[in-house]
Subunit: 212 residues, 2 copies
């Protein structure tokens, strides 16, 4: 087969996509076109997966009760996290906006199906975490594809994964990998919100490379 041609203009665009992909926590309430969301999920399913096992499972969370349960889990985990900081760091943490759960029109919970028979276990014997890593690449694919469509994604990890699992009534063998807020961002940036807020700057030399 002939390999496709990726030219310099595409590569420039791809670098711009990487630079402007952000963890978004500030959303406009405008709905997301369901056809667009379906397209993004289709692209996410092109992600690599160990043994070609395609272990990603998506749950769109729109109901009042499950959203309230997720919000409660976030508030509890966030309060516990705040309590672990002291002084100036606690003051900084308290001022951060760490999730767009209340505003984002779309919530997507993304699970790894730990019981899948697909892939016949290939590549998972010594590194079973590869199943969940495969789901992470699908999440990242969706994130980049969303940004290319003008949408923002925020990954909320300040949650009790077991509480989210229970609230969404999914199969026992599914494990929460990511809880995503998706919607139209209020603003665009090419630097992380945590850098602008003074929490953690980017490193001047962000690559550590050893030679062996």
């Amino acid at each position: 087969m002939n390999a496709p041609d990726f030219d310099a203009a595409f590569r420039d665009g791809f670098e711009r996509l990487l630079r402007w992909r952000r963890d978004v926590r500030r959303f406009r309430p405008d709905p997301v076109d369901p056809a667009l969301l379906e397209r993004l999920l289709g692209l996410a399913a092109l992600a690599p997966s160990v043994g070609n096992c395609q272990p990603w499972r998506f749950v769109s969370v729109a109901g009042e009760a499950p959203r309230a349960a997720v919000r409660a889990s976030f508030l509890a985990a966030n309060a516990a996290a705040l309590a672990a900081y002291e002084g100036e760091r606690a003051r900084l943490y308290a001022g951060l906006k760490l999730a767009g759960l209340d505003e984002a029109p779309v919530h997507l919970a993304v699970f790894a199906d730990e019981a899948t028979g697909r892939g016949h276990g290939l590549g998972r014997q010594t590194m079973p975490e590869m199943l969940r890593y495969s789901v992470v690449t699908a999440v990242h694919t969706l994130w980049l594809a969303a940004r290319a469509e003008g949408l923002g994604v925020g990954w909320v990890s300040i949650l009790d994964p077991d509480a989210v699992h229970a609230a969404l009534d999914v199969p026992e063998a599914w494990r929460l990998v990511a809880y995503l807020c998706v919607g139209h961002p209020v603003e665009a940036h090419d630097d992380p919100e945590l850098q602008r807020a003074g929490w953690q700057p980017r490193e001047a030399s962000p690559v550590t490379l050893l030679h062996r």
Copy 2:
């Protein structure tokens, strides 16, 4: 700030990139330009990370002894995996080419620094796996960026991560997330090698979406 414009031509190119990114196990021996590799690592460092902690650590493995140790770990893990299959499945497994370790000019081991102070623990209290997931997004970024430059990447997970860690003499707190072969691919495909080899086809409906 003004958001950048991603047009339909770019989005088409991005979808093509996703479709032609493959797990590559067949490499030409031609060297990879070190400047290009450096550029790819710089792009990988634009990946998202929990708390902006940038936990990825890269090791270029070129020495004879560490490469021999990695190869030995692969052979042992692969033999153990083969022994666990029976009949036709074992015959299929034995015929698969699962790594390009012998041919790939560049080997990259990618670790998560579990002891990093960057990010001040934000987002990792209830989901500590977020640190390693952040490294996975950097690996995936590098993979896509490499493909856009005509390079192939293969992720080898049939390895004992502790054996690789020991062979590379890296800090105790680093945890192996991925071992990558990088180089010029012998051939290009838009379908997975494991599908062509009859191991595991892609699903006709690769997206499972529940509503809650």
